[in-house]
């Protein structure tokens, strides 16, 4: 993922890109997560000020949606589907393998990786499915996952 440190000028440009319309709050935050990886306290303050909303309103939205992380993620974001179709194809075992391989629990991060559960990636005919840095992988086995991780570790 090519996220970068929070930068209030870039943040301002993102907000201006949505014409600073308060009803675009969710979209602004989506763009922030794409750009910066997470929503910091600075981000909440700036969004509130520039969209003319209270910090409480912004906080309410940030805390409601799963995608709005409030701590910085690792360099690579790994999401594993935990929903029924993938369960039927062994996602529980695959999750356990991933937790072990990456050495981190669900919803947690190291500098290199963030591991997050997701409830359906819409790739259910190729279960079990995972998403790594926004890219979908289907029919994932423990071996295939290890290969994906090895390639990421090589590339940094």
């Amino acid at each position: 993922m090519t996220t970068q440190a929070y930068d209030s000028e870039i943040a301002s440009r993102i907000i201006a890109g949505f014409d600073a319309r308060p009803e675009m709050l969710v979209q602004v935050l989506v763009a922030f997560v794409e750009r910066f990886g997470w929503i910091s306290e600075d981000a909440v303050r700036q969004v509130a000020a520039e969209l003319n909303l209270s910090r409480a309103e912004v906080h309410g939205v940030v805390s409601y949606y799963h995608d709005f992380r409030t701590s910085p993620p690792g360099r690579h974001i790994v999401k594993i589907c935990q929903a029924e179709s993938c369960q039927a194809m062994g996602s529980r075992q695959l999750s356990a393998h991933m937790v072990k391989t990456l050495g981190l629990a669900m919803h947690s991060s190291t500098e290199a990786f963030t591991l997050e559960p997701v409830y359906c990636l819409g790739n259910c005919a190729c279960s079990p499915a995972i998403m790594v840095d926004g890219r979908s992988y289907g029919r994932v086995t423990a071996e295939r996952f290890d290969g994906i991780v090895a390639a990421l570790q090589e590339s940094g």
Binding site: Y65, C120, R135
Partner: protein, 517 residues
């Protein structure tokens, strides 16, 4: 010599199993071999089990090769790929593949066939014909055709689309909106995604027709964040339509103005509930609204609003082109037309099957799906997403018909069919149903917010054989409360899968402890 056209899908499922690598390998080998090729990134035909499924156009026939890997490309070229040469992975003409030809492709007929972001290809395949017809015949004729077709909401609720459109058209109120629910969160469903990735201009045309019919000049698409490829394709399609005068002011000289804004979700399942989606579109937490008022009267920003699922809308152009009666001739009783069923989970041949209502779950699983992927017996089938009941192997002969499903405490929902083999422990699935509700509940109403958490605890006690009988009764009571008193389908229907398990798979609670999760 003219360049040979080779199709490699640019679609999430295909890419997830290597289609991009296949496309790169084809381009490289063609260059090395000095073969003139035109590489087209089409959408998917929906036969996901065959992905990556590539095609080569030979004498106006498209010859398919299935489960192609990048490592096969050298071999395929050696076998004469560009002239449709024989190879172990050759499937023959795409038009002869039984999985595809035995379907009733009404809504998805362009998916796989066309180049999704080519306006010319779209136009060459009837693109915008229905809109032009609508402009000529007027809004009332469009609403009449949709009403005659018997089309019902494909998001899951099954509300008659014609009535919804008429209501919005008849409601005074200046600005009106078309909103498209593309927050396809049910596990086992991917039809919205396949449509958007394979025929994005078709969705735009459908929105234009809806806007013209009800008198709305603005449309919003709410697309889930888990679909980044669909998002990129749809954004580009909106630009293309805009640049060619199919969006904006005075569209093609018709005097009709319409613009579309694409919004992306942020990982909340409940935002697929229509009022939660409207809240999210307005920039707030996706917390459901009380109904009434219905969105048709007071929807987005308090204005009359059509909320339609992607597949519902995309069924409309052919209803205009071929007539509402024709659509209504498919299906059974009050379930008219076709539905894109999606075969998922433990299934040998997973994918999208668009068929007329009335087909049975067993036909889909056996005739199309080929049984389980594991080869083991089917134990349970969840139809309609996480809020749908689990069917037993004995119930699979039920015809897919909204009312038939309702009558047995089940639902068709968005058409997802998730198969489990006999290694599943259903007590774990009951627990997951409650757990999922606890994770995704918007928190507005108590039965859903608290009930789901209590549900997980009660199921844990049943599994642990802690006052099993009493807790079993308590769980039934909890299901009653959630079903009767929740604000929306999230809390109101979470009991469906739980009850079906209590009724048909109760023995699994005794064996769940220590069973492999």
């Amino acid at each position: 010599m003219a360049a040979t056209t080779i199709y490699v899908p640019r679609e999430t499922a295909a890419i997830s199993v290597g289609a991009d690598d296949v496309a790169i390998a084809i381009a490289r080998h063609a260059k090395e071999a000095g073969d003139q090729i035109r590489l087209v990134r089409n959408g998917s035909w929906g036969a996901s089990w065959l992905e990556p499924l590539i095609e080569v156009k030979v004498d106006n026939k498209r010859i398919a090769y299935g489960n192609v890997e990048a490592a096969d490309i050298r071999d395929l070229f050696a076998a004469g790929l560009t002239s449709g040469g024989m190879h172990a992975k050759r499937l023959g003409p795409i038009d002869d593949i039984p999985y595809l030809i035995d379907q009733d492709r009404w809504t998805f007929w362009r998916c796989g066939l066309i180049e999704p972001l080519s306006l010319d290809d779209f136009r060459a395949h009837q693109g915008f014909n229905a809109l032009e017809t609508a402009f000529e015949s007027g809004p009332q004729a469009v609403i009449d055709a949709v009403t005659t077709s018997g089309l019902r909401g494909r998001g899951g609720a099954g509300f008659p689309t014609g009535i919804k459109w008429k209501t919005v058209a008849d409601t005074p109120g200046g600005q009106k909106y078309i909103t498209v629910n593309a927050d396809e969160g049910d596990s086992g469903t991917f039809s919205d995604r396949i449509l958007i990735e394979g025929d994005p201009l078709g969705l735009i045309e459908s929105m234009l027709i809806a806007g013209f019919a009800v008198g709305a000049s603005r449309g919003y698409i709410y697309l889930r964040s888990e679909y980044p490829l669909a998002r990129s394709i749809l954004s580009r399609a909106i630009e293309i339509a805009h640049d060619a005068g199919w969006l904006g002011d005075d569209i093609q000289g018709s005097g009709f103005d319409f613009d579309i804004e694409l919004h992306v979700g942020a990982g909340s399942y409940v935002c697929g509930e229509e009022t939660a989606m409207l809240e999210s579109l307005e920039g707030r937490p996706g917390i459901v609204r009380y109904k009434p008022p219905l969105p048709a009267f007071e929807g987005l920003f308090g204005k009359p609003t059509v909320v339609n699922n992607v597949v519902t809308l995309a069924s409309v152009p052919n209803i205009i082109n071929l007539g509402g009666e024709r659509y209504a001739s498919y299906g059974v009783d009050r379930s008219k037309g076709t539905l894109a069923f999606q075969l998922a989970g433990n299934i040998r041949r997973g994918g999208l099957v668009e068929k007329a209502f009335g087909i049975t779950v067993r036909q889909l699983i056996e005739d199309w799906g080929g049984g389980t992927a594991s080869g083991r017996p089917v134990k349970a089938v969840q139809v309609g997403g996480p809020l749908g009941a689990y069917l037993t192997a004995e119930q699979l002969d039920t015809p897919l018909d909204y009312e038939a499903f309702t009558n047995m405490g089940a639902m068709i929902g968005h058409g997802g069919i998730v198969v489990f083999d006999d290694t599943v422990n259903m007590a774990h699935q009951a627990r997951f149903a409650m757990e999922f509700c606890a994770i995704e509940s918007c928190g507005k109403c108590t039965p859903c917010r608290i009930g789901s958490t209590r549900g997980v605890e009660v199921i844990d006690r049943i599994i642990a054989d802690d006052n099993r009988e009493e807790n079993y009764d308590l769980l039934v009571e909890l299901c009653d409360t959630m079903e009767d008193a929740s604000l929306c389908a999230m809390g109101g229907m979470t009991p469906y899968p739980v009850r079906s398990i209590l009724k048909y798979f109760a023995e699994d609670f005794a064996s769940a402890q220590g069973a492999d999760q």
